[in-house]
Amino acid sequence: MNEQNDRKLNRRRFLARAAKAGLSIAAAGIIAKTLYDKQGPSAQPPSELVTIPDFSVPAMPGRTISIVKGRDRVKTIDKAIDLLGGIERFVKPDDTVVIKPNVAFTSVPALGATTNPELVAEVIRLCYSRAQAKQVYVTDNPINNPSSCFTISRIGKAATSAGAKVILPRVSFFKLTTLEGGKYIENWPVLYQPLAKADKLIGIAPVKSHSRAAASMSMKNFYGLLGGRRNIFHQDINTIIAELVMLIKPTLVILDGTETMVTNGPTGGSFSDLKRTDTIIASCDAVAADSFGCSLLGLKPADLPYLAKAQSAGAGTADYQSLKPIIANVT
C-alpha cells in the first residue's frame, strides 16, 4: 500500500501536504507560546506575595495606652483617645483610614459578639470631623456571610451613616503574604486590598471569652484579616494570635469592655453571658491593651500564652504597667 501511495505522490500533492504540516506545526507553536507559563507550576508565585504596610505611628512615652472607665461608649472612647494625644495624633488630614471591627458573626449588637456599632460610628466621626481624613473604610472577613454579618450586627448601617464605606471581602481582595520567621503565616491569603490603599489602620474589638484562646480581644480581632481555611490554626491558637500581631501593626487599637462577654464566648447568645465592666482601652500597643483587657474577664496575662509569645517576638509589651497607662473616669 505504501509503495502504491508513494508512486501516486506527485509534486503538487507533496507541496500541499508539506504546507498543511507546516501550518499545523506553526499553530501548535503559537498555542504553546501563548499558554507557556514562564513561572512554571509553582503553587505560590513569589510575585504574588505582598507585604502588609506598617500603620503604626511614632511612640510617645507615657502616651501608649489609656484605660477609661465609663458607661457611655461615645464619651468614654472620646476621652480615651484624647488622653493619648487626640485623634489628630493618629490620623492626619487626607489620610485614608481602614477600621477593622469584629464583625465575625450574624449577631445583634445586644449580644456583644461583635463590635458595638455606636463605637464604630464615633471613631469614624472623629476621623472625619477632627482629623479631616479623606476616606474611612470599614472592613472585615467574617466567618459567616459578610453581608448578613454587617447587616445584623448593624455595623454596616452605622458605618455608612457616619460617612464611611463598607468593603465586603471578595476573592480578588486577598493576596498571599508571608510573615518572616512565622510558623503559620506563610504564603497565606490576607484581606489586602483595603489595606493597600490605607494610610492608617484602627482595630476596634469587644472583650470576649473564647473557648479556644481563653480571650478574644484586640489581637485576635486581626484574625478577621486572614482568608483561607484559617480554622486550622485553632489547633495552635496562641501561636497564630502572636503571629497576627507581628504581621499587623495597627495605628491604634480600641478595646471595648463596656460589656464583657464573660461566658460562652466567642458567640455568646444570652444576655447573661455579658457583664458590665464599663471600661474602654485605647492603645498603640495591642499586646498591652489585651494584657489589661484580660483582667475584665478575671484572667491574668499569664493565662494567655499568646501575650508572652508576642512580647518575645518584639510585637508589644505584656507588662502594660511598665507603659504607665493613663487611667481616667468619665461620668
Binding site: 501516486k8 445586644a110 473557648s211 486572614l226 458567640t267 444576655f271
Partner: protein, 338 residues
C-alpha cells in the same frame, strides 16, 4: 490521476473517539474546579438535611398566641457539618465536633412589624441524646430558669434565650432583645419544633445521681464526653454539685469498662494532678484505695467502687470532702453491701 484514499478501519475510529472522550473528561475535571474558588466560607446546602430542613420550614409564626406580629425567615436555612461548623460558631466548633456533632441547621426569623425583634434558631444534631445533653449541660447559664413549656427534661430560659434538648438534638433560640412578644414567638416555635422532631428519646441519668436525692442541686448535673475537669482521661464523665451543710461540693462519676480500668484511671488522674502541682495527703478515709490530694488549697478526693470512678473536686476542706465521699461511696455500693 486517480487517488486511492485509505479507508480508516472502524475499530481505529472507535479507539480514537474513546481516547478523545477520555482526554475531554480529564480536561473538564481540571478546568471545572478552577471556577470553584473559595475564601473562608463554603456554600452550604440544605440538601444534606432535607427532612429536618423541611420540618423547620414548616413552622409558621404568622401570628403568635398573644396576637403579636408574625415572624418570617430572613433567608434560607443554612446547614453546617463538622467540616464547616467553624464558619458559623468559630472557636466553639471543636467543642461540638469533639462531642459528636453531625450537623447544624440555623436561620433568623424577623418580626414583620418590628425589625428590632428577631431570633435565631440553632438546631444541632448531636447524633446521640448523651451528646446533646453534654453540650447543653456544659454551656448552661448560671441564671437559667427551668423551662416547663412542653415535654422536655432538659431545658431552660434566660432573659433572651430558650435552650433545650430533645432526643439527639440540642436547640438554642436566641432572641435579639428582652421582649415578651419575642419570647412568646420563640416559645411557639419551640413548641411546634418539639412536637415535630422525629427523635423523642430522653437521656437517662445514672442511678447514683438519681439516688443522691435532695442533696444534689437541681440542674447542676453536667456530662462531659471528654476532658472533664481538664483531664483528658475523663471521658463520659458526670459532674454535679452536692449540697452538704452550708457547703457546695462538686462530685464526679465516670463509668469504666471494668474494675481494673477504673483503678488505672484513678492512678492516672492522681498522677496528672501531682504533675500539675498537687500534693498527696494522707487521711483517715474508710474508703478502699481512696486517694486525697491538696491542689493549691483545694481538696481532690478520688476512688473507685468496682468499675465506677468517683470523687470530690475542689472541696474547701478535708472534712467536707471526706463526708461527701462517704455518702457517694454508700450510694455506689451494691445493694447486698448496704
Amino acid at each position: 490521476m486517480a487517488q486511492t484514499r485509505r479507508k480508516t478501519p472502524r475499530h481505529e475510529s472507535v479507539i480514537s473517539l474513546f481516547l478523545l472522550a477520555v482526554l475531554f473528561i480529564i480536561g473538564l475535571s481540571v478546568v471545572i474546579p478552577q471556577f470553584n474558588l473559595r475564601t473562608s466560607r463554603t456554600v452550604v446546602s440544605a440538601g444534606a438535611a432535607k427532612t429536618l430542613d423541611s420540618l423547620l420550614d414548616s413552622i409558621v409564626l404568622r401570628r403568635t398566641p398573644d396576637g403579636a406580629a408574625g415572624f418570617e425567615p430572613l433567608s434560607e436555612i443554612a446547614v453546617y457539618n463538622a467540616e464547616n461548623l467553624y464558619e458559623k460558631i468559630d472557636g466553639k466548633a471543636p467543642f461540638y465536633v469533639d462531642s459528636g456533632f453531625e450537623k447544624l441547621l440555623t436561620n433568623w426569623l424577623k418580626s414583620q412589624q418590628d425589625d428590632q425583634l428577631m431570633f435565631e434558631f440553632y438546631v444541632y444534631d448531636m447524633a446521640e441524646p448523651a451528646n446533646a445533653f453534654s453540650v447543653f449541660s456544659v454551656q448552661k447559664r448560671p441564671d437559667a430558669s427551668p423551662l416547663a413549656l412542653f415535654e422536655t427534661n432538659f431545658g431552660y430560659r434566660t432573659e433572651n434565650a430558650l435552650l433545650f434538648v430533645q432526643g439527639k438534638y440540642y436547640i438554642e433560640l436566641i432572641g435579639s432583645a428582652k421582649s415578651e412578644p419575642l419570647f412568646n414567638a420563640m416559645t411557639e416555635f419551640a413548641k411546634q419544633l418539639s412536637a415535630a422532631l422525629p427523635d423523642q428519646r430522653q437521656f437517662s441519668m445514672p442511678e447514683p445521681l438519681i439516688a443522691a436525692g435532695d442533696n444534689l442541686i437541681p440542674g447542676s448535673i453536667k456530662f462531659y464526653t471528654g476532658n472533664a475537669l481538664g483531664f483528658d482521661g475523663f471521658d463520659n464523665t458526670f459532674t454535679a454539685v452536692y449540697k452538704i451543710d452550708s457547703s457546695n461540693v462538686t462530685i464526679f462519676l465516670s463509668d469504666r469498662p471494668d474494675e481494673s480500668s477504673a483503678e488505672q484511671l484513678v492512678r492516672d488522674y492522681c498522677k496528672f494532678l501531682i504533675d500539675t502541682g498537687a500534693e498527696e495527703k494522707s487521711a483517715d478515709i474508710d474508703i478502699d484505695k481512696a486517694r486525697m490530694l491538696d491542689f493549691y488549697g483545694t481538696i481532690e478526693l478520688v476512688f473507685n467502687n468496682g468499675p465506677v470512678v468517683a470523687g470530690i473536686h475542689e472541696a474547701d476542706d478535708i472534712e467536707t470532702a471526706v463526708k461527701v465521699a462517704r455518702l457517694l461511696n454508700d450510694i455506689l455500693k451494691p445493694d447486698t453491701e448496704k
